[in-house]
Each structure stands twice: as C-alpha cells, then as structure tokens.
C-alpha cells in the first residue's frame, strides 16, 4: 500500500501525498469524545505534519482510524488487515478476599497510610506448571492496615461496644483482589455505531465484547486461591467475593490496533508504525497484542519511548 494519511473532515475528504518521503498529512480530531472543547474549536484548523503520531487511548485511536475512511482506505485508515477495533482485551476483576489478622487486634495504631503503597502478588499460574482449567494467569493487588476512615463499620449493633469494636479492629484488616488476563480474541471488537452519535454528530463506538470460558474458569481459581492464601497466612476470613465485575470494569483497554510481523493479521509493526501508512504511528494501548495481567501504563510508555527512538532514527535517515 502507498503511504500517506487521509483523515475525514466534516464529511469532506482531504488527501495527502502517497510518497512517504514527501507526504503532507492532514490530521483532524473533531470527534474524540474524551477531548476538551479546545480540540473542537480547532475543528476548522489544519495541521500539517510529516508524521502523524496517534495516542488518543485504545478506544479513541481505533475510532479515529475507523472514522478515517476514504476511497484509498475504505475500511478506515491503516486497516487493510481488517484488524482495527478487533482483538480488544482488558483485565477481568472482582474475585478477592477480605481478612483480619487477629494478632493485630487491639494493637496501638500505626502509620499505615505512610507506606509507599499496597502489596502486589505477581502472576504464578502457568509459569512452570500448566493449569488444567485455563491458560495465562492473574496477579493480586491488595492493601492492609489502618486508614483514615476505619473499616468494619458495618458491624452489627451500636453503642459503646460497637465503638470499641471499631477502635480495636482498625488496622487489622487486609484485602486483595485479582486482575486477570482477558485473552485477545478477534471476536471481541469495537466498531462504529450506525445510530448513536456523539455531540458533534460523529459515530460513537459500539462494543461486541464478552468474557470467554477461559476468563470465567480463571475467575473461579482467583477466588479459591485468594481464600487459600489468606487461610494459610493465618488470617480470619471476613468476606470472599466470587462476583465477576462487568466487562470493561478494569478500564485497562488494549489491543484494537495490534502489532505484528504480518500485515495481513496486524495493524502496526514492532515500532507501532502502520503497515499500510508509513508515516502513521499509534503509540498507546491499542498496539498491545495481549493484555497480560499487569496494569498497562508503564508498558505503554516503554513501547512509546522505543517507537519514538525509532521514529527519530528514521527521520534522521530521511526515511520518513
């Protein structure tokens, strides 16, 4: 495919050159839902650039590409593979446990908010042994200790015994919840809604996304393992949650313009550069090939840094 970005402007096509070396790209963002009115007021302005770097977050970047249809790019910009919007993935959350360290009941208050953070248990499933029920894995995030507003106020009763119970128990609670990998599957995708539009009249995204069997089997293991860990640690179990939070809860969206070596099955190359349009980069979570189970921001930043190094090199060499 020839290079050069085409982006739609109020229904009217503007095109840029097809030679990447001399391309003049026109980028328009009148439709990004999360952006402030500033962007909207700039609707009438043109921005020219040798290279376009999109980092509008996973969903808005996919939307931007899908909206940028043209004769040259009938499926949307950088979408000859048909994978833009697909392989949507995130983290499954919900199962977890709350417990109490009985040996901390009645101890003098400590400064637990002054710690640098909670605790994190890294992934342990499917590293050395294959789990019989699911592939991939999850980690636990947790916290413990005294807080400014005490835990345990849902205790039964009232009066002086209630008051004392809260005081004695503060600082003895510990809780953790799981973040698990949602497998990236082509069947999980976003596309442009034919009916719903945002306040600028631009199509909104529509979600075709459900957890699969692997996610649900993993969630069962999260609950059982969390309880098992707390019991082994000697905590009194206060509450075990097996409730899986709804799809999208993690707000860790990833995967709608995935990287890959094969332009037929991926949108971007290893430097988050479009296979189709060489002067277009997408440097946010949409480039992810899978969700793993960690919070994605640092990996997004690391990949972006790497891609920008590559971009600077390419510009220096005159390749872009």
């Amino acid at each position: 495919m020839p290079g050069g970005a085409r982006v739609r402007r109020h229904g009217e096509e503007t095109s840029c050159g097809t030679n990447p070396k001399r391309a003049r790209s026109f980028l328009r963002l009148p439709f990004a839902g999360d952006f402030t009115a500033d962007i909207a007021t700039k609707c009438g302005e043109k921005t020219r650039a040798k290279v376009v770097v999109v980092a509008a977050s996973t969903l808005e970047s996919a939307r931007l590409l899908l909206l940028s249809k043209s004769q040259l790019y009938p499926n949307g910009l950088a979408n000859s593979s048909g994978h833009v919007g697909h392989n949507f993935c995130e983290h499954i959350m919900g199962p977890g446990v709350t417990g109490q360290a009985k040996n901390l009941v009645g101890k003098p208050p400590t400064l637990d908010d002054g710690r640098p953070g909670g605790f994190y248990l890294t992934r342990f499933r499917n590293l050395t042994e294959k789990h019989p029920k699911f592939i991939r894995g999850y980690g636990f995030e947790g916290g413990s200790g005294a807080r400014m507003f005490p835990q345990g106020t849902d205790a039964h009763g009232f009066g002086s015994s209630f008051k004392e119970e809260i005081r004695q128990n503060q600082g003895s609670y510990i809780g953790m919840g799981a973040f698990g990998e949602v497998l990236a599957r082509y069947e999980n995708f976003v596309d442009l809604d034919p009916v719903v539009k945002d306040k600028w009249g631009v199509p909104a995204l529509r979600f075709h996304y459900k957890f699969g069997d692997n996610e649900h089997r993993m969630a069962e293991d999260m609950k059982e393992t969390a309880q098992e860990m707390f019991e082994a640690a000697g905590f009194k179990i206060m509450h075990v949650s097996d409730r899986v939070l709804t799809e999208g809860w993690s707000i860790h969206e990833m995967g709608t313009a995935r990287m890959g070596n094969d332009p037929k099955t991926s949108v971007l190359n290893q430097f988050e550069q479009s296979h189709d349009v060489k002067n277009l980069f997408v440097v946010d979570g949409s480039a992810f090939v899978n969700a793993s189970c960690q919070n994605p921001t640092w990996t997004i930043m690391a990949l972006c840094w790497r891609s920008c190094d590559y971009l600077a090199d390419e510009l220096g060499k005159g390749n872009l």
């Binding site: 637990d112 002054g114 400014m148 507003f149 005490p150 009066g159 002086s160 004392e164």
Partner: protein
Amino acid sequence: MSNNPINLKQDRRQWLKSSAAVLGASLLPLPAVAAEASQAKTTPATPQTKPAGEASATRFFTPAQRTLVEELSETIIPADSHSGGAKATQVVGYIEQELRESTDDNRRATWQEGLRLVDLMSQHYHGKSFVDSSSEERIAVLTVLSDNDQMTDLPEVRFFRELKHLTVRGYYTSKIGIHDELEYKGNRLLLEFAGCDDPAPKSS
C-alpha cells in the same frame, strides 16, 4: 430485654394505635411528636420552614428534632473514657446538612417519619419521650430496632439504619473521631516502616 425478645411487628401495632389516640385527644405529650405528627399529615417530605428568614434555609430539623437527633446519635456512638461521642462532634449538624442537600425525597421522609416513630416507641415502652429517657431506656429502644435491622420494610428500621450510617460517617470524619478516638497517624512522613513485630502466625 434480650431474655424476652420483642416482636417488633406485633408491638408496633400498639404504639401506632396509641399514637392515633393521642392525636385524637389533642394531648401533646411532647412538642416534637406533635409538631412532627401534624406535619407528617400534610407534607412529610418538606423541610421545616420557619419565618426566621435566613436561618430557615439552613434548617431541616426543628429545635426539638435537633435535640432528639443529638441524643439518638450519642446513643449510637457515646462518649466513653477513651474519647468524646457523637454529640461532642456535632454529628447532628452533619446529618442536617446531608439531609438539607439531599435530593432524595424518600430519604428525607424516612427521617421525618423515623423521628416520629422512635418517640412513639419510647412512649410505648417507657411512657416518656426518647429525650426524657435514661440512657438504659434509650439503649433499650434502639436495641429493638438494631435486633430487627433486617426488617427493612418497616420505616423505623430504615430510619435506624440511616441514623447509624450517617452517625458513623459523621463521627469518624470528625476531628474527635479521627484523632482522639482512632488516633490516626496518617499525613505524616514515614521515615521507616518497621513492619509487624509479631511472630508469624502458625497456620492451623
């Protein structure tokens, strides 16, 4: 009282009946009850309006109701040898502001109705208003509601849950609740995290 558990659903018929009789005879045993009862007849969800100009905008409770809420909240979280109670933290002011700013008419009605019912209960069990009762008598009335706190179809139970919820929130976000009661250590630089010096608990 725990030896002889009260059947809330049976008892309430009697105190509701006696409330009707009291009103019919125009006997006003307590200003709060009477004022509340007559107001509940017309506009239960509307806050009290007084011709006091500006002050009326800041009031959800009548002075009598305010005293009642103060004593109720103190019964939920009383002063003890460790720290002050709900009264000292002026939880009533917090509750009043919360209700004044609430857009939930049902919630406001729950409070107006609940204050009326709790005084009827006090009259029924002890022959005097809640405010005039001893602390044992106050505890006895609230114990009836606390022991039945799953009966959320009853307005006085819903009121008790709201009362407890807002008293807890108000108290533990106050200076007395945070510093005197819980001795919160936060918002200070932690130079060293000493960890827990207890030996690792043995798993059973």
